[in-house]
C-alpha cells in the first residue's frame, strides 16, 4: 500500500508537491497558534489596508486584520473542508463502485444509470441552488454537500477496476477456496483499488479547494467571520485598487495549494499505473 507513495516521493514533482502541501498544512495547523488572532482589530482606524511590512508580512485588510493570520486560519478551514469532503466522496464512490462492479447485472445497471443522471446535473449549479436557499449553512453542511456531489467519477472508476479485477486469477482462486463475498470484496478487491483511489483523492483535494473558494467568494460557502480564502478575496474586491495584497495573498494560497496537490496527484498516478504485478 505504501509503495506508490514512496515512488511518488522519489518523483521530483511528487516531492515538491508533497513538501509544499506539508508546509501549507503545517502553517495552517500551527500558524494560528503563534500568529495574531485573525479576528483581532488592534488598531481599528489606523491599521487599515497597510501594505506588507515586518509587522504585518502580508499586510492588513480593510478591517485592520492581519492578512497572514487570516490566510493561515483560512487555510485550516479550506484544508479541513477539502480533506473531509474528499474522504466522504471517496468512501461513497468506492462503496458504490464495489457493489456495482461485483454484483453486476441489474444492480450495476441501476447504479450506473443513477451516476449518469447525477453527472448530467452541473455540480456547481446544484450547490449554488442548495446553498442559496439554505442561508448561512454551517460548515458541516457544506462538507457533506460537496462530498455527496463528488463521488460519481470515483464510483465509475472503482467499478471499472473491480470489473477488471474480478477476472484476475487470484480472485477466482479465492472463490475456489470457498471465500464468501465479503472476503473477496474486502481482502482482494478493495486493497487492489487503493492505488486509483489514492490518486482520485489527491486530485480531488485540489478540486474541492477551488470549489469551496469559489462558493465562499460568492458568499455561499464558509460564512464570515470565519476566515476562508475565498471569503478573503470577496472582501478584497472592494479595495483591490488601494490594497491589492488583500486579494493577492489568499489567491496565491489557493493557487499554490491546488498546484501542489495536483503535482503530487500526478506523481502518484504515475507511480500507481505502470506497476506491473
Amino acid at each position: 500500500m505504501l509503495d506508490p507513495l514512496v515512488r511518488a516521493w522519489r518523483d521530483p514533482r511528487g516531492r515538491v508537491g508533497a513538501l509544499v502541501l506539508a508546509a501549507i498544512a503545517a502553517a495552517a495547523a500551527l500558524g494560528p497558534l503563534v500568529l495574531p488572532d485573525p479576528l483581532a482589530q488592534p488598531c481599528v482606524l489606523t491599521c487599515r489596508n497597510l501594505p506588507p511590512s515586518l509587522a504585518h508580512p502580508f499586510g492588513t485588510d480593510d478591517l485592520s486584520r492581519d492578512i497572514l493570520a487570516r490566510v493561515a486560519s483560512g487555510g485550516r478551514i479550506s484544508l479541513a473542508v477539502a480533506i473531509l469532503a474528499v474522504s466522504l466522496s471517496v468512501t461513497l464512490g468506492a462503496a458504490v463502485g464495489l457493489v456495482a462492479g461485483y454484483w453486476g447485472g441489474a444492480v450495476d445497471a441501476a447504479l450506473m444509470r443513477l451516476v449518469d443522471a447525477a453527472l448530467a446535473i452541473p455540480r456547481l449549479f446544484l450547490l449554488l441552488l442548495v446553498l442559496a436557499v439554505w442561508e448561512q449553512a454551517p460548515v458541516v453542511a457544506l462538507i457533506v454537500l460537496i462530498g455527496a456531489t463528488g463521488w460519481f467519477g470515483t464510483g465509475r472508476l472503482v467499478r471499472g477496476e473491480v470489473l477488471r479485477l474480478r477476472e484476475e486469477s487470484y480472485v477466482r482462486a479465492a472463490e475456489a477456496l470457498g471465500g464468501n463475498r465479503r472476503r473477496i470484496i474486502f481482502r482482494h478487491l478493495l486493497p487492489n483499488t487503493a492505488g486509483p483511489l489514492l490518486v482520485a483523492a489527491t486530485l480531488g483535494v485540489g478540486d474541492v479547494i477551488l470549489l469551496e473558494a469559489g462558493l465562499s467568494f460568492l458568499g455561499l460557502g464558509v460564512q464570515p467571520p470565519t476566515p476562508s480564502w475565498g471569503g478573503m478575496i470577496l472582501d478584497a474586491k472592494s479595495v483591490l485598487g488601494a490594497a491589492p495584497w488583500a486579494g493577492i495573498f489568499p489567491g496565491l494560497a489557493i493557487v499554490v495549494t491546488v498546484l501542489s496537490a495536483n503535482l503530487f496527484g500526478d506523481a502518484l498516478r504515475d507511480a500507481v499505473d505502470p506497476r506491473g504485478a
Partner: protein
C-alpha cells in the same frame, strides 16, 4: 465408482446486456462427458477456443453450467446450495495458468496460502503458520518465504505457491488449468515433476488441462481431445498418440514440434481458420477443415458420436480408416 463423473456438460456464454439478449451465445462446451478415477490424471487437450478451460471452471462451479451433471465423490455438484458448495470446495481445488495474476499482489505469500485454512477453519493460531511452512517446504520453497510478497518471486516459484495454496485445504481432486504453459522449459519440468510427486504422495486426482501433447504424455495416463466444445477423441494416452483415430488428433499430433532434426515428421497443415464457437458448423464440427479422404455429405449433416474404434473412442464417421500423418502429408 469414479471420483468424478461428468455427463453431457454444456456451457454457453451469453453476450448482450440487460436490454438485448445475446443473439449468438458462445457455445464453449457442447456436451462433454468423462470420468476421473481416484489417484489418476485425465488430460483435457485442445487449442484455444476449444472449451477446455470452461470445462474445468464449470465443474468447480466457478461458473454456472448451462446443462449436464457432475457427480463428485457421490455428490451431485450442480445441485448443491451455497453453503454445501462452500464445504465441498475443500475437496476440489484449482491451479491457474498465469503465475502473474494468480496471487494477490497485496497479500503476503503466507497469507495467500493460509486463506483456505482460515476459510474452512482447519487450524488456528500458531498451527496455521506451521502448516503454511510445511506446505512451502512440500512444494520446494523455503518456509521463510511466507512473509514475502508475490512480486519478489519468479514465475515458477509463484506456480509452486499457487499449488501450496490449493493443497492447504487437503483436496482430493485438483483441476490444473494449463499450469505450465507460461513457464520456461526447465521450470516447466520442475513443476511437472512436483505435480507428479504430489500426486503420488497425497493420492491426488488431476484434471490436467493443456494444449501441449508432449506435456500431457508426460503426466497423464488418459487423455481427451477437445475441438469446438466437444470431445472428439479420448482414450489411453499412449494408444491415442500411437494411433490417433480422429483426423483432428492426427493433425494436432503432427503439428507438435519434434526436437530432433533427424526425425522430422510429416506435418499436416490445416487449412482455414478455427470457426467461431458462437457459430459452429453443422454436423461434424471439424468437417470444414478435415482432410480425411472419405469426408462426405454425411459429415456435413450428421454429428458423429464418440464410439470405440481400436483402443480409443473417436467421434468420426470414418474413424476406422483415418490416415496417419505420413499418409495424409508425406514428408518431402
Amino acid at each position: 465408482m469414479s471420483l468424478l463423473h461428468v455427463r453431457d456438460l454444456v456451457k454457453h456464454y451469453h453476450s448482450g446486456s440487460l436490454f438485448r439478449a445475446g443473439a449468438h451465445p458462445v457455445r464453449a462446451v457442447e456436451g462433454v462427458s468423462f470420468d476421473v478415477e481416484t489417484g489418476e490424471t485425465l488430460a483435457l487437450v485442445g487449442e484455444s477456443g476449444c472449451g477446455k478451460s470452461s470445462v474445468g471452471r464449470t465443474i468447480l462451479r466457478l461458473q454456472e453450467p448451462t446443462a449436464g451433471t457432475a457427480v463428485f465423490e457421490g455428490t451431485d455438484l450442480f445441485a448443491l446450495d451455497r453453503i454445501a458448495l462452500r464445504r465441498m470446495r475443500r475437496r476440489m481445488q484449482i491451479i491457474f495458468q498465469d503465475p502473474y495474476s494468480s496471487l494477490n499482489p497485496r497479500m503476503t505469500v503466507g497469507a495467500a496460502i493460509a486463506e483456505g485454512i482460515e476459510i474452512h477453519r482447519l487450524a488456528r493460531g500458531k498451527e496455521v503458520g506451521r502448516r503454511v511452512g510445511a506446505l512451502l517446504e512440500e512444494v520446494g520453497l523455503d518456509p521463510g518465504y511466507a512473509t514475502r510478497y508475490p512480486h519478489e518471486f519468479s514465475g515458477g516459484q509463484r506456480q509452486r505457491i499457487g499449488i501450496a495454496r490449493a493443497l492447504a485445504v487437503q483436496p482430493s481432486f485438483v483441476v490444473c488449468d494449463e499450469p505450465v504453459s507460461a513457464l520456461d522449459v526447465s521450470v516447466q519440468a520442475q513443476v511437472l515433476n512436483l505435480l507428479a510427486d504430489l500426486q503420488r504422495e497425497r493420492g491426488l486426482s488431476y484434471l490436467f488441462i493443456a494444449h501441449d501433447l508432449a506435456v500431457v504424455r508426460q503426466i497423464a495416463r488418459r487423455v481427451a481431445v477437445m475441438y469446438l466444445g466437444k470431445i472428439v477423441e479420448k482414450g489411453p494416452t499412449e494408444e491415442l498418440l500411437r494411433q490417433p483415430r480422429h483426423p483432428y488428433t492426427v493433425a494436432l499430433l503432427s503439428a507438435v514440434p519434434e526436437p530432433d532434426p533427424t526425425r522430422q515428421r510429416s506435418r499436416i497443415v490445416l487449412t482455414g481458420d478455427l470457426p467461431s464457437p458462437s457459430n459452429p458448423p453443422p454436423g461434424c464440427p471439424f468437417h470444414p477443415r478435415c482432410f480425411h479422404p472419405r469426408r462426405d455429405e454425411r459429415c456435413r449433416i450428421e454429428v458423429p458420436l464418440l464410439r470405440q474404434v481400436g483402443a480409443t473412442r473417436a467421434a468420426c464417421h470414418y474413424a476406422e480408416t483415418t490416415p496417419s500423418a505420413e499418409a495424409a502429408a508425406p514428408s518431402g
